[in-house]
Symmetry: C2
Subunit: 341 residues, 2 copies
DNA sequence: CGCAGCGATGTAATCGATTCCACGAGGAGG
DNA sequence: CCTCCTCGTGGAATCGATTACATCGCTGCG
């Protein structure tokens, strides 16, 4: 592969001049510029990004560590992150932690070794020493979706409290009183926050949330199935199951179906995170939709601000309830709550 | 960030010795090794992968260019690729082409500039000059899922012909005679092959496939919707719509539902590519399942073989039909065709 | 006792870029 | 006509690693 030296030789100038032409430095004669450009074209020369990064100490690359690529929510997040990053002149390297802290560390370490300019993380756990060290050491970093309390890193996320309250109001109106939740890991902020928001909303209606109706999941479909089976085995099964993410809702659907029960007649279902497939499930699933694309874009902007010396800001955007049929009664379209069915 | 020089100084040895310790070179005294390791730990030193890559001309990184991350099929493929690559000591950088040739070129160029060791591609089109040049120039490369004819690059893919034949047999048995297909872009191999397989299978049953029942899609949900609407507007709408990928099937489902029609009573539906959600759609969708994970792993193995000087082999694995309810008649479980519902 | 050979180590070249500095030519101003 | 600046250019240092080669001290064998 041709290097800058080959170009210089072929154009009859020094490597310094070639570099200047390539970087748009003003003080190059029109004649030299032309010869360099011709040589570049003739040789099909492309600058070696590795060498350039070594010299400039910049990779123009962001690392994105997410908890689970197979979760459509994170897939969409990753996509919007890449899009915005590209618009700002950065590339993105994705690390998929698969909800496993040690895999998350593997990726963080790998990205750091590659000297990425900044790190976008949706932590799988409460924060490994590695991640805390990186943050402390001044690695430009932004948390997205989930975050680690007590670390001085901007957070870009959705606030689902209002939407959860709307959901509980919706459920109450439909006559449901025994509500249950499949929670995410307590070590994640989204895992604990969603339970808290749910509990608070229930309290407003004077409804209890006994421990038996709080199932411990791990954001994966299988745990949703397992927890739901537990709920169905209770002496008094719940009227509604609220899954803290879309994969656990899928598992719940599996479990309900396996018993030969029907949603919403026998048991209602709602989920956090809306995805295109929820429109076509049987029945369409009522869900809380995050502004995923906007979150990804805002996170990139914050991180790039930090990298380029500006002051990044935390961002919180509202989530909203999307009513479908999985909790009963076909939705009556209204300006506020409209299903996209 | 500490460099190898700092470690050398702190351990009281030369950088060469540090490098030797780090790379497991045998001729280092136990004493020196110990002091180096201590210094590494004390400084929290991590080798700079950029510098190392420049010197060794290896990045231990594979590029993966796929057509659409939002498509669950490709998401799963990407995941299995990363997994196998990690097991073999490589990292993966994903480029999402979004079914846009110019975006695909952007990513190929970006990956090449980063001097990745090899490229895994599922081409969005018939092959841009950039990609053809890269292949000709000897960049280690492997095609996965889709490929470009006439280029000497190993291909790892699924053969869906037998499964398509099974599907047509299934449809015929259910009494369907007017079959239609939503095809992918003709410039992609999967786009044209699936139509051909379908046409060949229909021929075996003496069924025609008039042009009016071949809709041109682009593997995105919106095109599935549009094409399906066209089918429904025909004087004689088809009995069955077969979508060449899962997103177009989603669009088709949208279109059918928007007309107030029912699957499979009014029109049946089948799709290429099986995904977990198809179990829970209304109705569950009959699909052709590819061995996605195995494809990803085989592709990585082939590419790494090529990179490490062994001779890579093309691989073709069979796809299989998964019968569910979207074409009519609940499936009767049999040893050969079993739904995972 | 002398020298070959080996093990441990350091010096320095190298990868491909960027960039500081020096230098020469040419124009402007005194 | 001389000096000073500016512009265009090239030489060389530099980034952080790897590695060929040189060196030095020992050991072992003849």
């Amino acid at each position: 592969m041709a290097s800058i030296k080959d170009v210089a030789a072929s154009a009859g100038v020094s490597v310094a001049t070639v570099s200047r032409v390539l970087n748009g430095h003003p003080s190059v004669s029109a004649d030299a510029r032309e010869r360099v450009l011709a040589a570049v074209a003739a040789l099909g020369y492309r600058p070696n990004a590795v060498a350039r990064s070594l010299r400039t100490d910049q990779t123009h690359t962001l690392g994105l560590v997410i908890s689970d690529v197979l979760n459509p929510y994170f897939t969409e997040l990753a996509r919007s992150v890449e899009e915005e990053a590209r618009a700002l002149g950065y590339s993105v390297i994705i690390g998929n932690a698969d909800e496993r802290p040690e895999l998350q560390d593997h990726h963080v370490r790998n990205l750091l070794d590659r000297r990425i300019d900044g790190l976008l993380v949706s932590p799988t756990d409460g924060g490994s020493p590695l991640m805390l060290d990186a943050a402390r050491a001044g690695t430009p970093m932004v948390f997205v979706d989930r975050w680690i309390p007590g670390v001085d890193v901007p957070v870009v996320r959705a606030d689902g409290r209002a939407a959860v309250r709307d959901l509980v109001a919706h459920l109450y109106r439909l006559g449901h009183r025994r509500l249950a939740i499949i929670a995410g890991p307590a070590a994640t902020t989204t895992g604990s926050e969603r339970v808290e928001a749910f509990r608070a909303a229930l309290a407003e209606y004077g409804l209890p949330l006994p421990d038996a109706r709080i199932g411990q999941g791990d954001f994966q479909a299988e745990s949703g199935r397992r927890v739901t089976e537990g709920f169905l085995d209770l002496p008094q099964p719940p009227d509604v199951v609220f899954a803290a993410d879309n994969l656990m809702a899928l598992g719940a659907l599996d479990a309900v179906r396996a018993r030969g029960l029907r949603v919403p007649d026998d048991i209602a279902l709602a989920a956090f995170d809306d995805i295109p497939w929820f429109v076509h499930t049987d029945p369409p699933v009522t869900a809380i939709a995050q502004p995923t694309g906007e979150l990804g874009r805002a996170a990139v902007r914050a991180l790039v601000d930090r990298i380029e010396g500006r002051t990044p800001r935390s961002v919180t955007l509202p989530a909203r309830l999307v009513v479908r049929r999985s909790c009963g009664e076909p939705p009556t379209p209204s300006p506020v709550q409209r299903s996209t069915t």
